[in-house]
Amino acid sequence: MDTADQEHSRRRWLTYLLGTSLGASLVSFLYPILRYVVPPVSSEPSLSEIELDVKASDILPNSGRIVPFAGKPVILFRTAAGELKALSATCTHLACTVQFRGDRSDIWCACHNGVYDANGTNISGPPPRPLTKLDVAVRGEKIVIRRA
């Protein structure tokens, strides 16, 4: 190997070292930034049951309301037949909050016109899945909601 070749291969080696160390530095700068941008997973409240500050008699037949349950909205309603029901109020389409329509006894999402029946089954519009059911019980006067 003559000197020019030696020079050349030494230069290539140096360029390689410089390149990889610059690359490694860049990765070491970017990694914490990328991790920083993703919010930490907060320990979701693992509530499995809550007692609402709502009297069972306050929910009239064919009416409903939204109540918070473990940080998420839940729709609590009474059917025309008098049965109390609770379903997740987060629309399975694009996560809007649904509402109970007394005049049609169904559950409606105003964002994209999705409709569910009183069992939470998606019956028209874009929602792909039914709403998750929750158990409702009446303890004394108070309503208790629990994961099914």
């Binding site: 940080g71 694009l94 909050t97 105003a110 964002c111």
Partner: protein
């Protein structure tokens, strides 16, 4: 002798203040460029003012946005109240905020018109492909500004629009949920989303926009104004950019300021109701007008098409449209050879008509609306 020798320094000391400054800053090059810049005059010259108008409206947004920063507070507890304070208590706060809101809509509108005129005049053909691509990216940034700014007053409409808008990327298999979390600053739209959108709206997007706008403007200066194919062979007459075109530009800007002030005074931008995360989405919920066609399209998509989730197909469809829009100068072979491309015009007209029809349908009252 070096150029900074004692003789030169002595000569510089004798210069007038203006000459001294010119010597230090060296603006002769810029002045020379400005004096040389010319604008072709033909039947479509009016369309050349749209770019300058978009730039002006952007600067209005920067100025009013900076003013809003002085009072706005980015948190779920204070955002709504601080905007209410700006609208009701701060002298001329209503004016600044209404101009910012109206200006945002006017800006997006003008950018869309600017893009449509560039499209139909085939100004994207060689050698201006990069100018078009930087311009389309600036349009996407403008939409990002619109989407992120919409949430900042923390009202009901904005809350649900953001819920939907940040749930759309969640439908992408694999990285979707992560993307949605990054956008929301958590698993739900909360005060954390407000802080995040605030940072995006006032720092991240402005920084990217400044860079890209710089590139776009430099490219426009380097390549000069494009003339439409029908005019290309005819050697149109020209007018000087400074002062002839610039003064006409400024007349347009003055009219825009008048329009913005008029809109702000007679139709002050509404604030609506404070966002209530545990209330159902109200009837008649919809996003800003420039997202209405997409919003309406999402309503018509069934839950599943051939086993693929409808939302995912929607995202793929809009993604493909965006990619085509960026790559128009590469895909339109006719225009790149300097020939008319009527099929691209027809395609664009169909797309525009589709977007208009969907927007109109979205403005109709929703069929399931509950009577109050």
């Amino acid at each position: 002798m070096s150029s900074d020798g004692p003789e030169r320094r002595a000569a510089a000391a004798r210069l007038s203040p203006a000459a001294w400054l010119r010597d230090r800053i060296g603006w002769d090059g810029i002045a020379h460029l400005a004096a040389k810049k010319e604008v072709p005059v033909h039947r479509y010259t009016l369309l050349y003012y749209l770019g300058g108008m978009a730039l002006f409206l952007f600067l209005v947004q920067v100025a009013t946005g900076i003013l809003l920063l002085l009072y706005y507070r980015p948190s779920a507890a204070e955002a709504f109240e601080s905007v209410q304070y700006i609208m009701a208590e701060v002298p001329f706060g209503w004016l600044i905020r209404s101009i910012h809101s109206w200006g945002a809509n006017l800006f997006v509108g003008v950018v869309i018109l600017h893009m449509a005129s560039v499209f139909f005049l085939k100004a994207y053909r060689a050698p201006r492909e990069m100018t078009w691509i930087s311009g389309v990216l600036l349009l996407f940034l403008a939409l990002g500004f619109g989407f992120s700014g919409y949430l900042l007053p923390w009202n009901t409409l904005a809350f649900f629009a953001t819920k939907v808008g940040t749930d759309v990327p969640a439908q992408i298999p694999g990285i979707g949920l992560l993307l949605s979390r990054i956008l929301r600053g958590g698993s739900d739209v909360t005060g954390a989303t407000v802080s995040r959108f605030y940072g995006i709206h006032v720092a991240i997007l402005p920084a990217i926009t400044t860079l890209l706008l710089g590139v776009h403007l430099v490219l426009v200066q380097q390549k000069g104004m494009s003339v439409p194919l029908s005019v290309e062979g005819t050697k149109p007459r020209t007018m000087k950019f400074v002062p002839d075109f610039l003064l006409r530009d400024m007349v347009g800007w003055l009219i825009a300021v008048g329009l913005l002030a008029g809109l702000a005074a007679f139709l002050p931008w509404e604030l609506g109701q404070k966002a209530e995360p545990f209330a159902p989405a109200p009837a008649g919920i919809r996003p800003e007008w420039y997202f209405l066609s997409m919003f309406q399209f999402l309503k018509y998509l069934p839950a599943e098409i051939a086993g693929i989730p409808g939302e995912l197909l929607g995202i793929l469809f809009f993604g493909a449209l965006a990619a085509i829009l960026v790559l128009v100068p590469v895909l339109d072979r006719g225009a790149s050879r300097g020939q008319p491309s009527p099929w691209w015009n027809r395609l664009a007209l169909v797309a525009l008509a589709g977007a208009l029809v969907l927007t109109f349908l979205a403005l109709l009252p929703p069929p399931g609306q509950v009577k109050p």
